[in-house]
Amino acid sequence: MKAGNDAARAEILRAIRRALGRDGPLDPGIARALAARAAQPHPRPHYSAGLAQRFAQKLRAADGSVDFADNLAGIAARVDAYLARHKLGNTVALAPDRRLDRIPWPAHWQAERRNARPGDGVGITPAFAAVAETGSVALSASAQTPAALNLLPATHIVIVEEQQIVPYMEDVWQLLRAANHNPRALFFITGPSRTADIEQTLQLGAHGPTRFFVVVRR
């Protein structure tokens, strides 16, 4: 297996080099120059709205809901109101993350700090960052932030600090580089899951969450 794989690798690389008119790897000088090519900015859509405003507008356009809170208690109140408004009960799976631990969740909830289970109604996770351009939240997978919590619960709620909202996806790359962090999974989620596979008719709640709600703390 290993030998076969090495042979296949060598042959594919050889075929590529032949096609490119080279007989060996790139000249080391060129390779070094290419390595330094990282992080080139490219043309991208410009916008003038403020970050929080743009974020909310774009996420709503993607069928997500957004609310704002002024403090930790406000976050709990906004989420509680959302659950009541949509009759989602008060059983909640919370990411086992200290950013959520600081929030005074309502006493009448049955809140569990754990990963998602099939059949969960509501999951709450903290964000790694948020992107104003597209109204997306960036969520990384880790010990404190399980990936399945982003996917299995019927309603996914994300808590974002306003200063976590960055203008563009490229700014998330800068955050990762600054932290020397390459998460196992990094999700950009923009609204509830959807499909248009039946006659091009948009239907929310395909396989992932049916509802997507973000609370931004100012």
């Binding site: 594919i12 790139l26 997306s136 996917l151 709640g205 992932g208």
Partner: protein, 468 residues
């Protein structure tokens, strides 16, 4: 391979054109896709500049493909993943079957065109595994025993009624009702069990990032992420041209992909996967495998079809092609359909067997205009036709043109724009009047100029204005 059947292209075109259900489905899809893309692209002043930058990045990457592939593979290994290099479709199949091991595994699959290309499902089933497609469109065509008919909308040829029938037949008592919401809810329930019970998840990748070793998966349903996150083993199948140098490059391509494919600024779920579960992680697969497929691509790199390797499989050229819009994907009888398929299929199956496909083109140029990486699709099709001519593979052009003409002549109002396109094709391919006179049905057109079809110019103007 489906190659043998390629000879029957004119026949399949005729069948497709006569299929009223298919025609309705295609008409609706075409309108929807074109509107959405036009709106999304129109909102970005920088779109053309983004498109040019994307083309440059792809060209740069292809010129240094060995370097970026090695860099990517090293990064995947550093992330705790395993990289498997596959020269051919057969080799890739064997690798995946090998990873899956003894038969009896439950496999949940996300949409991957590479798996279609290597005909993975039959091989896995033969090895005794149960394979479930989880993208709703893919699931529908799997139940129907069909192949996808569009690279991003696999069941675009199916009507709601047909899906209802399929579900009733396969889900039995679970049938709940008729509207789209009920269909989606039913699929959600059935497939939930497939995700949570799966031993192995298989997905494709939209992009591979050399800088970090990430495989990037773009979906709207979230099904690919469930396949990637829940099962203990995650296998990604991807082709070598998917690699991009940096995360900055990725951001640019995501902006182009969403707008070109579905008119979205970004798809709902865009996820970067970098290897297996790490120590302390709450979840994630304990094994991460990446299968890198060549299957003829390194040969394309050295030839006159290199431009085609820029393709990001967005589907825009299909959505704007009057021929695809009239006959659908199945008529091509190949993994890839539409303009990009008409370029790729003769390269993989051979020009002899796929010789009719490059002729199914009106040279209206829309495909190139909408292609986010500016692939000169009409020029590449012309190259195929020149080779055909050189190799004296005079195909079924005449027959094909006749069939198309007959269809549109009978439905002038309904498909006026497309009719113009296809008459143009007729002129170009069936050729001069002399050749046309041989067809009894074509007499009406050759003898009289007032057949109810627009002039070629009118057609191009209409398409430019986006009318249908």
């Amino acid at each position: 391979m489906r190659a043998a059947a390629q000879n029957n292209f004119p026949r399949r075109v005729q069948v497709a054109l006569g299929n009223e259900t298919l025609q309705r489905a295609l008409g609706r899809a075409r309108a929807g896709f074109q509107d959405k893309r036009r709106r999304a692209v129109g909102q970005v002043a920088e779109f053309e500049r983004m498109r040019r930058a994307a083309k440059e990045i792809k060209n740069h990457t292809l010129t240094h493909l060995d370097f970026y592939l090695e860099k990517f593979a090293d990064a995947v290994r550093a992330n705790g993943g395993q990289v498997h290099w596959a020269r051919t479709a057969g080799e890739a199949r064997d690798i995946v079957v090998g990873i899956c091991g003894a038969g009896g595994k439950k496999i949940a699959k996300g949409k991957t065109m590479v798996a279609e290309e290597i005909e993975l499902n039959p091989a896995l089933e033969k090895a005794g595994h149960e394979v479930t497609e989880t993208d709703l469109g893919e699931y529908i065509v799997q139940l129907a025993g069909e192949a996808p008919s569009h690279i991003i909308a696999p069941a675009v040829h199916k009507t709601r009624g047909e899906v209802l029938e399929l579900f009733a037949r396969h889900h039995g008592a679970k049938k709940r009702g008729g509207d789209t919401a009920a269909i989606v809810a039913e699929a959600r329930q059935v497939l939930r069990e497939k995700f949570t019970g799966a031993d192995i998840g298989i997905t494709g990748a939209n992009f591979l990032i050399a800088e970090t070793g990430a495989s990037v998966l773009v979906t709207n349903e979230g099904n690919g992420d469930l396949c990637s996150c829940l099962p203990p083993v995650h296998i990604v199948t991807a082709a070598i041209e998917k690699v991009l140098p940096t995360l900055e490059d990725l951001a640019l391509f995501l902006r182009l992909l969403g707008r070109s494919a579905t008119g979205q600024e970004i798809s709902n779920y865009t996820t970067l996967y970098a290897g297996a579960k790490r120590e302390g992680d709450a979840d994630g697969p304990r094994e991460f495998h990446l299968v890198l497929l060549d299957n003829g691509r390194s040969a394309m790199l050295g030839g006159e079809f290199r431009d085609m390797l820029r393709c990001i499989r967005c589907g825009a050229c299909l959505n704007h092609c009057p021929v695809y819009g009239s006959i659908g994907g199945h008529a091509y009888d190949a993994v890839y359909s539409g303009p990009m398929g008409a370029v790729l299929t003769p390269l993989s199956a051979g020009l002899r067997v796929a010789r009719d496909l490059p002729n199914a083109c009106t040279l209206n140029g829309r495909c190139r205009e909408v292609c986010p990486v500016d692939i000169p699709l009409p020029d590449l099709l012309r190259k195929h036709r020149m080779r055909e001519f050189e190799q004296k593979l005079g195909g079924a052009r005449g027959r094909l043109a006749l069939v198309l003409w007959a269809f549109f002549a009978l439905r002038p109002r309904l498909y006026q724009a497309a009719a113009g396109a296809l008459l143009y094709l007729l002129k170009k391919t069936a050729g001069r009047r002399g050749a046309l006179r041989k067809f009894p049905l074509a007499g009406g057109w050759t003898q009289s100029r007032d057949l109810p079809v627009p002039e070629g110019k009118t057609f191009l103007r209409r398409w430019a204005r986006g009318e249908r």
